[in-house]
Symmetry: C2
Subunit: 96 residues, 2 copies
């Protein structure tokens, strides 16, 4: 019997994700609705855009950069980052 797939929901259901663990490691795949969000990390995170785009202000940065389909940004553990989402976006987040 495979393990139960856990669905997480954040920011008043504006962000939802499904957790998984496989040969690549521990990760989530999810969707963000249009909006602005602040996330905090407990581990290093590799955030990849699967569809759409994420405009991110990385820790310690003052400028925003837009990450598009297939691109990845990395945030070290115990830091926070800000996101602006202007179209519904699917993402993949791998934890390390």
């Amino acid at each position: 019997m495979s393990t139960e797939l856990k669905v997480n929901s954040y920011f008043n259901d504006s962000v939802k994700s499904i957790a998984l663990e496989n040969q690549e490691g521990v990760s989530t795949v999810g969707v963000m609705s249009v909006g602005e969000y602040e996330f905090g990390t407990n581990q290093r995170e590799y955030m990849t855009v699967v569809s759409g785009a994420l405009t991110v202000k990385l820790p310690g940065e003052t400028s925003w950069q837009t990450v598009t389909k297939g691109e990845t940004f990395i945030v070290e553990a115990n830091l926070s980052f800000s996101l602006k989402v202007t179209q519904t976006t699917a993402y993949f987040c791998r934890y390390e």
Copy 2:
């Protein structure tokens, strides 16, 4: 207010997905637990492996092929295909 993110569940919760619509079109992102599944299509589907691997028998084929991270297979509308999943796998499915 952004639209509510819809979570779908199939095969006794072994497959879960989140629906989205954006500039790329209508799609879902989801996770499949280890197992064997048969899917039917209503529209053409572009199935991309985000993490893990999918072993697929495409419509009309007798052999199986394994599709890995970043690879896509296509199934035309109104057909069915079989999948063997040997590690928990995240996928992105775009409908056309």
